[in-house]
């Protein structure tokens, strides 16, 4: 039986949609305005021809990829291990992962900086701490609450204890169990965590600005305070890129689902378990 949505529901939905659509629509309209000359794509042309646009975007994408990889390598085994062996530590780990919400970005940046400076040898300072790559350490911390929750939900959805023990009783080593049995079953959760991390880094302004590095969001702000029309065009491009990133992750996720639901004939004896490295690499 089909139930029709009540009028009140339609109204709420409409208000919600307007809340998101109106600003984007206005920005799009604004971005194609050319003062007295009517409408055109001058603003877009200007942005796309600006080398700083490409440099900052590429820089932010690199940071996002690196952060995603580091976060996954750190967090997937951690969440798995906490569930498997230290279930009592779960509330503690959970509260630790919330800390980034509580700690102001300035404290985080200065704290991390001082911490690394206190013990790092010169070559580490020169090649890591004093380079833009150092932002990754802050971003990993920033992504923690989201990544932990996404992975935690995924791990709860499968009986990892039984799966782990089953794999072990069949002779599998720890790494084989993790890569062949546990990770393939956390695929959706890992992808969701990757997407969240990626998007957080692409949109992060405060920390980069404090650390005086020009990332993509910092560039958007600079343009925004100087030139109105190109800023609107840049915003539209940024929103489009975010949607694109989300779409890519969705497609990867769907591909995995289809493979699992309808295996190709004759593929029974070949493993469908993707290597974890590949999954992470795709991100």
């Amino acid at each position: 039986m089909k139930r029709r949505m009540p009028i009140s529901g339609v109204v709420v939905l409409l208000i919600g949609a307007l809340y998101f659509i109106v600003p984007i629509a206005c920005t799009i309209k604004f971005s194609v305005e050319q003062g007295h000359q009517g409408f055109g794509f001058d603003a877009y042309r200007q942005i796309l021809n600006d080398p700083t646009f490409r440099d900052t975007l590429w820089f932010s994408v690199q940071l996002a990829l690196e952060t995603t990889i580091v976060t996954m390598v750190l967090m997937v085994p951690t969440v798995y291990w906490v569930h498997l062996r230290l279930p009592k530590a779960r509330p503690w780990v959970e509260s630790v992962t919330i800390l980034p919400f509580v700690i102001p970005p300035i404290v985080l940046v200065v704290g991390l900086f001082d911490f690394f400076k206190s013990f790092s040898p010169d070559w580490v300072l020169e090649n890591f701490v004093f380079t833009p790559k150092f932002l990754v350490t802050a971003y990993v911390v920033l992504a923690l609450p989201f990544v932990y929750r996404a992975l935690d939900a995924g791990v709860r959805a499968v009986d990892i204890q039984t799966l782990t023990e089953a794999a072990q009783s069949l002779g599998a080593s720890r790494s084989r169990t993790l890569f062949r049995v546990i990770l393939p079953n956390l695929r959706e959760a890992v992808l969701a965590a990757c997407l969240l991390t990626f998007v957080i880094v692409l949109g992060e302004f405060t920390i980069a600005s404090i650390a005086l590095y020009q990332t993509f969001p910092v560039y958007i702000t600079t343009i925004g305070s100087a030139e109105a029309f190109p800023a609107a065009a840049l915003t539209v491009i940024a929103v489009g890129l975010t949607f694109l990133a989300a779409a890519v992750f969705l497609v990867i996720g769907r591909m995995g689902m289809r493979q699992r639901r309808r295996p190709p004939i004759g593929a029974a004896m070949t493993s469908v378990a993707p290597a974890a490295g590949a999954t992470l690499g795709e991100a």
Partner: protein, 355 residues
């Protein structure tokens, strides 16, 4: 010579003793069940054999080798879990092939073994199905095939039927036994279901509070329970507090009724004993106004429940005892509720325990 030995296994969790020094030996090819209520230590014992738990003391020996400290993935033990143990990302065939891949079997040999095992458990048609496309019973068959594929030295089953429907449960337990005998594999089975344990095992170890109450064949466990716990846990048992009336001829006094019982011969008169009597050993006679002949307990039927082939009657005896009797359903109409009856049982059918 014993093939699988548990020697003085002890395991304590905090203040709770899960296993208090359990020792059992299994011959090669033997099927042993650990039977007991939850918390009795049966699963702890199984997990120690599997290597998922380390005993506080004691040893596990398989084929003469001490494996107590060996990692679970190096023990060559096949295990079937309660449920949800199949790898959801792999088909039935891939699940069965997993252990063989770990052991680096060449693919042709591996495929042959997978087909063979899936055929043994009757799932040749479901090779390419994923776990979520299989029923609970089929999943457990795949799990069994997967555990057996690696040619394990010992097969462990941890309540493998507890999540299944009654009908599938009976089918599958018979099949587990068939496959086990066919392959001649030494097997330890954990269950809280006595019917399951009694129907498939060579020997049953009834466990309670971290210890073994009785170890014996199913017939011994059922027919000759050696402790009060076993008597109460296995099947339905009438327990009658009584006193030895005559230790020479063999008779007990059940609240004033003198009844012949062979098992009290040689005991001093006046000794308090617990009389154990299976409901199926009891026969009933009508009491149509005439005084009962001696050697029985007179009483009244208080409840009747139809169980198919048999009907179970509750009887309140005049001396205060409560009894349960099983009678064939064909003759059960004769014993309606409130009917006055005399309860009799063969003098050799009752067992006696010290109080």
């Amino acid at each position: 010579m014993a093939y699988l030995e548990m020697q003085e296994l002890r395991k304590v969790f905090g203040t709770y003793t899960a296993l208090g020094g359990v020792s059992i030996s299994l011959e090669e090819g033997e099927f042993l069940s650990f039977l007991g209520p939850s918390g009795c230590g049966k699963t702890t014992a199984l997990r120690i054999i599997a290597g998922f738990l380390q005993p506080d003391s004691g040893r596990v020996v398989i084929g003469g080798e001490d494996v107590t400290t060996r990692a679970p993935n190096r023990r060559d033990i096949g295990m079937v879990f309660q449920a949800y143990s199949l790898f959801p990302n792999m088909t039935a065939a891939q699940n069965v092939a997993f252990g063989l891949k770990v052991r680096k079997w060449p693919s042709a040999k591996r495929d042959a073994r997978v087909s063979e095992l899936l055929e043994i458990v009757g799932l040749s048609h479901a090779v390419d199905r994923y776990p979520h496309q299989l029923s609970g019973g089929m999943q457990q068959r795949v799990a069994l095939a997967r555990a057996l594929a690696i040619e394990p030295r010992v097969l462990l089953l941890d309540e493998p039927l507890s999540a299944l429907d009654a009908l599938v449960r009976v089918q599958l337990r018979d099949e587990i036994r068939r496959v086990q005998s066919q392959l001649g594999i030494t097997t330890v089975y954990v269950t809280h279901d006595q019917e399951e344990a009694l129907s498939v095992s060579d020997r049953v170890a009834v466990m309670y509070a971290g210890g073994i109450e009785q170890l014996g064949t199913p017939a011994e466990i059922y027919g000759a329970p050696s402790t009060r716990f076993v008597a109460e846990f296995i099947g339905t048992m009438n327990r009658l507090e009584s006193r030895v009336a005559d230790g020479d001829s063999g008779a007990v006094d059940i609240n004033g009724s003198i009844v012949p019982v062979d098992a009290v011969r040689g005991r001093p008169a006046g000794q308090e004993v617990l009389l154990l009597l299976r409901p199926e050993a009891i026969t009933l006679e009508h009491l149509n106004g005439k005084p009962p002949e001696p050697g029985g307990l007179s009483g009244e039927v208080t409840a009747q429940s139809f169980l198919g082939a048999i009907t179970r009657l509750k009887i309140a005896a005049e001396n205060g005892s409560e009894l349960i009797a099983n009678v064939p359903s064909t003759g059960a109409q004769a014993f309606s509720v409130n009917q006055r009856v005399v309860v009799r049982f063969p003098s050799d059918s009752a067992r006696v325990l010290d109080v």
